[in-house]
């Protein structure tokens, strides 16, 4: 039972990351730099919302308290959200939005690849499906990082700045806490430190081609995935996302 509870918490991390990043990408609708790119970003957002539904749906079943994907998405407040801080940040300019997608997709690529071996076969199946989607997200975002980095002077400057701004939010992804360790010991989740190698390799290769400089490692933000201290942005995201469910608590269906 304690193990189910831990797994529930772990699935919230996966589901909340997809959900909040999907939310941020969906804000790009009507605001993308080209219509063709709008199509691409919405496809990514759709994949992410789909992943969130699978992770949260499964989490709700494990919890066994009758909460489904929507109860978890729409009826939890900031204190109970478990997403990493990086997904909560506002989109910023296109360099920032696509840079974030690139860094997270590179992480998810490693993570889902490893989760395919999870002792939790249902989780492994979701990872298998999500890996295909994330492979494309990584490719698409990476292509953009290359074009912006090695594009014009302005695009290079913006892309470099986006990386500098985002970098301190990447540490949280790889720093294991007690829950990550417990999941690893149970054979459910991989060793986060091991994912780092592949991530470094992939990220460095793209940055090199993009003529961008990898930001210096320094102090890293944390507090999202363990719910200790989210950004101020999350509250606004939830206020918007949960508005209808909160304003009409008697409604049974939408």
């Amino acid at each position: 039972m304690a193990e189910d509870r831990a797994r529930f918490e772990y699935l919230l991390r996966l589901g909340d990351n997809s959900l909040i990043l999907g939310h941020r990408l969906s804000e790009m609708l009507g605001n993308a730099p080209a219509l063709e790119e709008e199509m691409a970003l919405v496809n990514v957002a759709l994949d992410l919302i789909g992943q969130a539904r699978l992770f949260l749906g499964y989490a709700g079943e494990l919890e066994g308290a009758g909460r489904d994907e929507d109860a978890l998405a729409y009826r939890r407040d900031v204190l109970d959200y478990r997403c990493a801080l990086i997904v909560e940040l506002p989109n910023g300019d296109f360099a920032h939005a696509i840079g974030r997608l690139f860094l997270i997709s590179a992480f998810d690529f490693e993570l889902y690849g490893a989760l395919r071996e999870s002792a939790d076969r249902r989780l492994a199946a979701i990872a298998e499906k999500s890996l295909k989607e994330v492979t494309y997200h990584l490719r698409h975002a990476g292509e953009w990082v290359i074009r912006l980095g090695d594009g014009t002077e302005e695009s290079h400057r913006r892309m470099q700045k986006a990386l500098e701004d985002l970098w301190m939010y990447t540490g949280e992804l790889f720093t294991p806490d007690a829950l990550d360790e417990a999941m690893r010991e149970a054979g459910i989740a991989p060793d986060l430190a091991r994912l780092r190698e592949g991530w470094d390799r992939r990220v460095d290769a793209v940055l090199r081609e993009a003529t961008l400089t990898r930001p210096a490692e320094g102090w890293m933000q944390s507090g999202g995935k363990d719910g200790r201290m989210h950004t101020e942005h999350l509250g606004y995201i939830l206020a918007e996302m949960q508005f209808l469910q909160r304003a009409y608590p008697d409604a049974r269906a939408w």
Partner: protein
């Protein structure tokens, strides 16, 4: 969607004068009459080409601007399923805009020019998208009524005489078949929900009913180019015929939901075999078309902002492609 035939002006077109020119036009009309499709490089009268450019580009602009009122609710969709459906639907609209710009470009006009006209406020798009989406019920109403009206308009356009437009319409109609159904499902859920949800649905129908009827364009008596467009088979059914058909199919759908259509004069006419309905407030229509709708400014402003803010990105991508070309050549 949305070929309201908003603006009859396509600029002065030189009439056929010489016997040779008249003969060529007659041959063209004979091909149309024989239900042949016209393809991009075929000879066509200048008026035909310009009418098509105007109609297809208005149609494309409508898809693109049409993303905005629904986009207004993407981050607030009440369930994850609804959020995914809404995203997919709006994405389809972006795609349909692109198919249509593509079709328009086969007529020898550049997309950049068409977009420029839209952003400069010189091009028209469907009046319906200048209305606000105030409640979640509006998302359902747009699917049910606006997409419903659009489908009615678009189905006959699959047989339009211009090949690329007809082909785009075939693809669009196929993809849009879920749009109306998802909207009706939303409205039905609300209509069967709590009193507050029900109120939301009825209020939304009250606001959207007349603007939806305006989507078919002005009455045939006031529609400047219906006759010529019909002759060229660019348009295959008149505005009034489509409007009547829409009313006839929609009234029973509203009854099934227990919602009231806001038209005291609406009643079945057994002699005609159609519903009679009250006068459409055309003065409102012409005002919205002229720019005095609730959201005209916001809609264009958002498109302009996205275009401006995206400029450095589009330029960077071109600059990168050029660098690559030079590197490849040097290698």
């Amino acid at each position: 969607m949305y070929t309201q035939g908003l603006d009859g002006k396509i600029g002065p077109v030189r009439e056929a004068e010489t016997a040779e020119e008249k003969e060529r036009e007659a041959r063209f009309q004979a091909r149309i009459d024989a239900e042949e499709r016209i393809e991009p490089n075929d000879w066509m009268p200048e008026g035909y080409r310009r009418t098509l450019i105007r109609q297809i580009s208005q149609h494309a602009h409508s898809e693109i601007v049409g993303m905005l009122p629904e986009g207004n609710w993407v981050t607030r969709a009440p369930t994850l399923r609804r959020k995914a459906i809404l995203l997919a639907k709006i994405q389809d609209e972006a795609g349909h805009g692109l198919y249509l710009y593509s079709a328009c470009e086969t007529l020898g006009v550049e997309r950049a020019e068409l977009v420029e006209q839209l952003l400069a406020g010189k091009a028209k798009y469907s009046s319906i998208f200048n209305y606000p989406t105030l409640t979640w019920a509006d998302v359902g109403m747009i699917g049910w009524l606006v997409d419903g009206a659009a489908i009615m308009n678009q189905v006959p356009l699959q047989r339009c005489s211009y090949g690329p437009y007809a082909r785009a319409m075939v693809r669009i109609c196929k993809e849009e078949s879920f749009h109306q159904r998802q909207g009706y499902e939303i409205v039905m859920t609300l209509a069967q929900g709590t009193p507050e949800q029900r109120r939301m649905a009825q209020e939304s129908l009250d606001r959207w009913w007349w603007p939806a009827l305006m989507m078919f364009g002005p009455p045939d008596s006031d529609s400047v180019h219906t006759a010529q467009s019909m002759k060229w088979k660019i348009k295959r059914v008149t505005n009034d015929e489509l409007r009547q058909k829409f009313v006839d199919v929609t009234v029973p759908q509203a009854e099934r939901l227990g919602l009231r259509i806001p038209d005291p004069q609406l009643r079945w006419n057994p002699e005609r075999g159609h519903y009679d309905f009250g006068p459409v407030p055309w003065d409102e229509f012409w005002r919205v078309i002229a720019g005095e709708g609730p959201c005209n400014r916001e809609r264009l402003e958002q498109r302009r902002r996205a275009h401006e803010e995206g400029r450095w990105v589009r330029e960077a991508a071109l600059a990168h492609a050029e660098k690559r070309r030079l590197r490849d050549r040097a290698a």
